[in-house]
C-alpha cells in the first residue's frame, strides 16, 4: 500500500493528462507487437520441428509454450503503455533489456568469441610481455603524481606516460592481428542472422535506454526507481541463474524420467529410473550349495547378507552400486564431521589466544582449503603409496622401533582403509575452513561472560564447557550442516586420488557414481535420477537439522 508521502510524490511526478506522448512510447508499443508476433511465429516453428536438439518432445513443447510468455508480456505491455500505466513500462523494460542481452550474446557467439576462449588465453599469454608497456606508463604517471603541482616535470611525465601507453596499445593491436580480427568479424555479416541480431541489439538497447528515462512520464516514484535500479544491478546474476542453474536443473529433473543416453533422443519412461535404482528384495538362502545370485530374481544382485540362525538372509538390489555408493557417502559424512570439526575447534581455541605468530598460523591452516583438490590429491596419493609413501614409512619406522609387526597399510586398495583415506584427505582440507568459522564464533563471545564465570570460580574447563560451547552452538550448527552437505557431495577426492578406473567400490561415493553413469556410462537420464535422489537426501538431512536446532532454541 502506498504511503501518504508516496502519494504526494506521485502527484508531484505525474505530468498532466495533456502532456505530449513521447515518441518512444508508440515505438515501444509497435516493437512489442512485433515481438509478440515474432514469438508466436517462433513458437509455431518450435512445435513444428522434427528434432529439437536431441532433447525430446516434452522439452520441445515446453520451449514452445515458454516462448509464448514474452508474447503475452509484450501484448500486455502494449495495452498498458497505451493506457499510460507504469506496469506497462516495467514489462516493456524487462522485454527490451532481456532482448538486448540475448541479442548481444548471440552476436558475440556469431563472432566466435565464446568458442575461442582457449585461443584468447593463448593470445593473452603470448602478448603478456607487451602489456608491460602499460605498467611502465602507469608507473611514470604515478611518479608524476608524486611531484608537486608546480613542478614542470609533472606534466612531462604524464605526457610521456600517455605516449608509452598509446605506443604499447598500437604495438599490441598490430601484434594481435586486429585487422584480421576486424576482417573476420565483418565476414560474419555475410550471415543474415548476424545482421538481424545486431539490429535487434541496437533497437532493443535504444528502446531500453529511452524507456529508462520516461520515469516522470509514467509518474515513477523515487522508491520505484530505486527498486528497478536494484533489480537492474541484480539482473546479471538473475539471468545467469536462470540460464545456467535453473534451466539445467529443470532439464535434469525432466531427464531423470527419461532413458536419456548420449547421442540419442531421450524418451519418457516414467519413474523407471527411480524404481530401478531403489528396488531391493529379500530372499532366504537355505543351503550353501546354491550361489547367492541364484536365489535372487533376475536383474537383482546380492547387496548384503545377514545370518539368521542356520539360514542366510540375502538383500538383493537391482542397482547394487547405487546402494553401496550411498552407504559409502553416509559413512564418509559420519567420519568427516568429527574429523573436520573437532580438530578445527581445538585449533580455533589455540589460534584465538594471543600467542606470537598466531596470524601466520591462521593463514597457514587455511591454505589447504584454498588449494586445488586435484593437486593436493596427487600429493596425498604419493603419501599413501604403500611402498614409497611417507605414511607407511613412518609406520614402518615406528613399528620397527617398538618391535611390532608392520601392518603395511594398503591405503588406497585395502577394502577397510580406502574410505578412511578419502576422509583424511577431505578432513585435512576442511579443517582450515572450519577453524576460521569457529574462530569467528569465538571472537563473538562477550568477554564479560568469562569474567563472570571466573568470579563464580569456574576453572578453564568449566568455562569452556559452560560458556564457550553453548555460545558456539550456532557456529557449531553451521559447521556441522555445511560439513555434512560437503560430505554428501564429495566427488573430487575419490576422482583424483585413485589412478585406476574403475575406482575401488569402497571409494565410490554417490556423486562419483552419478558421474560414472553419466560420462563413462553415457546414461545421463539415469544419472539425473541419482542426482535428484541425492538432492532429496541432502534436503531431508538439512531440514531435520534445522528443525532440531529450532526446537533446541525454543527449549533454551
Amino acid at each position: 500500500m502506498a504511503t501518504t508521502a508516496d502519494k504526494l510524490l506521485q502527484n508531484q511526478f505525474t505530468p498532466g493528462p495533456d502532456s505530449a506522448t513521447p515518441i518512444i512510447v508508440p515505438a515501444s508499443i509497435l516493437w512489442n507487437l512485433l515481438i509478440a508476433a515474432g514469438c508466436i511465429f517462433l513458437s509455431i516453428h518450435i512445435f513444428g520441428l522434427d528434432d529439437f536438439g536431441r532433447l525430446g518432445r516434452p522439452v520441445q513443447y515446453f520451449a514452445g509454450v515458454v516462448v509464448i510468455l514474452p508474447a503475452l508480456m509484450a501484448v500486455a505491455s502494449s495495452i498498458m503503455l497505451y493506457q499510460r500505466k507504469a506496469m506497462g513500462r516495467y514489462l516493456a523494460l524487462i522485454i527490451q533489456y532481456v532482448g538486448t542481452v540475448l541479442c548481444i550474446v548471440g552476436v558475440l557467439h556469431l563472432w566466435g568469441v565464446f568458442l575461442s576462449f582457449e585461443a584468447f588465453v593463448d593470445s593473452v599469454m603470448t602478448n603478456a610481455p607487451l602489456t608491460l608497456g602499460f605498467a611502465a606508463g602507469y608507473g611514470l604517471y604515478w611518479l608524476g603524481g608524486r611531484l608537486g603541482e608546480t613542478n614542470p616535470w609533472r606534466d612531462r611525465l604524464t605526457q610521456v606516460a600517455l605516449l608509452i601507453a598509446s605506443a604499447t596499445l598500437i604495438i599490441l593491436l598490430l601484434a594481435t592481428d586486429v585487422l584480421g580480427t576486424a576482417n573476420y568479424i565483418l565476414n560474419t555479416y555475410n550471415n543474415t542472422l548476424t545482421w538481424v541480431l545486431t539490429a535487434g541489439a541496437v533497437i532493443f538497447g535504444v528502446l531500453t535506454w529511452q524507456m529508462l528515462h520516461l520515469g516522470a512520464y509514467f509518474g515513477e516514484l523515487p522508491t520505484q526507481r530505486d527498486a528497478w535500479q536494484g533489480w537492474l544491478m541484480l539482473s546479471p546474476n538473475i539471468i545467469g541463474f536462470m540460464f545456467f542453474f535453473a534451466g539445467p536443473l529443470l532439464l535434469s529433473f525432466y531427464f531423470s524420467f527419461t532413458n536419456g543416453q548420449i547421442g540419442r533422443v531421450p524418451e519418457v519412461i516414467g519413474v523407471s529410473n527411480y524404481t530401478h535404482m531403489l528396488s531391493v528384495e529379500f530372499q532366504w538362502r537355505e543351503s550353501a550349495e546354491v550361489t547367492r545370485q541364484s536365489v535372487l530374481s533376475r536383474g537383482y544382485s546380492p547387496l548384503m547378507t545377514v545370518n539368521v540362525g542356520e539360514r542366510e538372509l540375502i538383500v538383493g538390489a537391482r542397482d547394487v552400486m547405487f546402494w553401496r555408493s550411498m552407504r559409502n557417502t553416509i559413512f564418509f559424512c559420519m567420519m568427516l564431521v568429527p574429523l573436520s570439526a573437532i580438530p578445527a575447534l581445538i585449533l580455533s581455541l589455540i589460534l584465538n589466544s594471543k600467542l606470537p605468530g598466531v596470524k601466520f598460523f591462521r593463514a597457514l591452516y587455511f591454505l589447504p582449503s584454498v588449494a586445488a583438490v586435484v593437486g593436493t590429491a596427487l600429493i596425498w596419493r604419493w603419501l599413501y603409496d604403500p611402498t614409497i609413501g611417507f605414511f607407511n614409512y613412518i609406520i614402518t619406522t615406528v613399528t620397527g622401533f617398538l618391535g611390532l609387526a608392520d601392518p603395511q597399510v594398503a591405503w588406497l586398495t585395502g577394502p577397510g582403509v580406502v574410505l578412511i583415506s578419502i576422509v583424511l584427505l577431505a578432513a585435512w582440507q576442511l579443517v582450515g575452513f572450519n577453524t576460521v568459522l569457529f574462530l569467528a564464533g569465538l571472537q563473538g563471545i562477550p568477554h564479560v561472560l568469562y569474567e563472570a564465570a571466573q568470579i563464580d570460580g569456574a576453572n578453564r574447563w568449566q568455562q569452556f564447557r559452560n560458556v564457550t560451547l553453548p555460545m558456539l552452538a550456532p557456529t557449531s550448527f553451521f559447521v556441522i550442516v555445511t560439513t555434512i552437505i560437503t560430505g554428501l557431495q564429495v566427488f573430487n577426492e575419490p576422482y583424483a586420488l585413485f589412478p585406476a578406473r574403475p575406482i575401488p567400490v569402497e571409494a565410490t561415493t554417490a556423486v562419483y557414481y552419478l558421474y560414472d553413469r553419466a560420462f563413462p556410462g553415457f546414461q545421463y537420464g539415469y544419472a539425473s535420477a541419482v542426482a535428484w535422489v541425492l538432492f532429496a537426501l541432502i534436503f531431508m538431512v538439512t531440514f531435520i537439522q534445522f528443525r532440531l536446532q529450532r526446537s533446541e532454541a525454543y527449549e533454551n
Binding site: 536431441r54 566466435g112 568469441v113 568458442l115 575461442s116 585461443a119 584468447f120 602489456t131 602499460f134 606508463g137 602507469y138 604517471y141 608524476g144 606516460a161 600517455l162 601507453a165 598509446s166 604499447t168 596499445l169 599490441l172 593491436l173 594481435t176 592481428d177 586486429v178 584480421g180 580480427t181 576482417n183 573476420y184 568479424i185 565476414n187 543416453q261 548420449i262 547421442g263 540419442r264 547367492r292 545370485q293 533376475r298 544382485s301 552400486m321 596419493r381 603409496d385 604403500p386 611402498t387 614409497i388 614402518t396 594398503a410 588406497l412 586398495t413 585395502g414 577394502p415 589412478p499 585406476a500 574403475p502 575401488p504 567400490v505 560414472d516 560420462f519 563413462p520 556410462g521 553415457f522
Partner: protein, 428 residues
Amino acid sequence: MLRRPLTALLLIALAAMMAVPVSFAQDDEEIELRWRTRPDNQAEIDVYTAASEAIDAEWEGVTLRYEPGGSETAAYQDVLVTELEAGTAPDVFWIPGTDIARFASAGLILNLADLASDDADFDVEDFYAGPMSFLTTALDGMDDDALWGLPRDVSAFAIYFNADLFDEAGLPHPEDGWTWAEFVEAAEEISGLGADIRGFGMNAWWANWGYFVNAAGSSFFNEDFTACGLDNQATVEGLETARMLFDNGWAIPWGSDSEPPFIAGTVGMFMNGRWATPNTITNAEFNWNVAPLPVGPSGMETNWLFWGAYVVNANTEHPEEAWDLVTRLTSAEIQGQIADLGANIPSRATDEAIELFLNTLPGSGVNNAAFVSGTTSEDVRTEAPLFFGDWPSIDEAYGTGVTAVFNGDLSAEEFAASICEQVEPLFD
C-alpha cells in the same frame, strides 16, 4: 586526469586481445578441419602439431587445427562426449579401441565405409587385422558395411625389468619363452633382496589381470563377444597366481601405481605397454630393459594388442575431407614421425612399418623386438570394443570382483562361479 585515458587504453587492449580469437579466420574457399588426440606429454603434442602443420602445408583448400586433448587423467573422453552432445566436437578425433563400439552405437561417429570404398588408395589389409576386424564390425541390424575409423597405432605389454636387481639376486635376465615358474621365482627372489623391494608390479586396470587369465587359457568373452567367458578353471588358475604374488608381498599392492616405485628402482619387474618407454628412458637411473611376457599354463605366448583409432564426428560438415585427413594421419610417413617418439608402434602391419619401429630409440638399447613379438604373439588378444554389451559396466563388475579376489574378500573359485551370471544382464 591521465587515469581515464590510461584506463581506456587498458580496456581497449583487453578487448583487442579478446577479439583475437575470432581472427582465426579462413578464406571462404578454405575448409577448416579440427582434429584431436590424447597426447601423454609435451613431446607428443609437438610431434602431432608438426605433423598437422606438414599436412596442412601440402593440402590445398583445407586448413587444419590440431587440438591436443587432455591427458588420460584429465578426462579426455568426458570432455569429448560433452562436446559431441553440444555440437562443438572436432571433425576428427582419437578414441581408445574399447570405446569404438559405444561411440558407434550412440551414433557419435561416422560410418566411413562408403567413403573408403571410393578411395582407391585405401586397403584394409595394410593395417593390423585385429583392430580392423573390430573397426569393420557392423552394428546390430545394420545392413551396410561398416568402417568406424582407422587405427592410429598399436601397442603391446612387455615386462620392464630392473637388470641391476636381477643381477643382485643372481637371476638370469628374462628372455623369449620364459615361463610363469621362472617369473614367479624371480618375483620371490627379488622381493627377498630387501623389505622395500618388490619383485613385480602392475597397474590396476583390466588388461593387467586380464593377462593372467588369458595366459592361463581363459578369456573375457566367448568367441563372438556376446557373453562372458570367465566361468572356467583357467580363470581361477590365473587369478590365484596373481593373488599369490600379492599375498606373499612379492608384488606392489593391487590398486597402487607401480610405475613410480619401478622408476625409483625398488621393483624388479613391471608389466606395462610401449607408452611407458620414454618415461623410463628419461627417469630410470639403473640398468633396465624389456622382455616378452612369460608363457603361462596355456603354453602359448600371450599378449594384448592395444590400439586406438582416428574416427570422424558424425556431425562433421566435411565428411570427405575428414576421411582424407584420417588417411593422411595414418599414412606410413606420419606414423613414422610419430613412432620416432618411441611411445607406440605404427598401426600399419607392413614390413616397412615394423622395420621403422625396430629402429626407433637408437642408442637406448631398448629391446624393441619384445613389443613387436607381443603384437604378433601366438595368442594375441586384440583390445575389444564390445558391440553387444555395456563394456563400462562389465569392466566395473569384472574389476570389482577381481579386486575382491586380490584383497582376499572373495575366492577365485567364487569369482569364476558367479561373475558370468552377474554380468549376463549387461550383454544385449
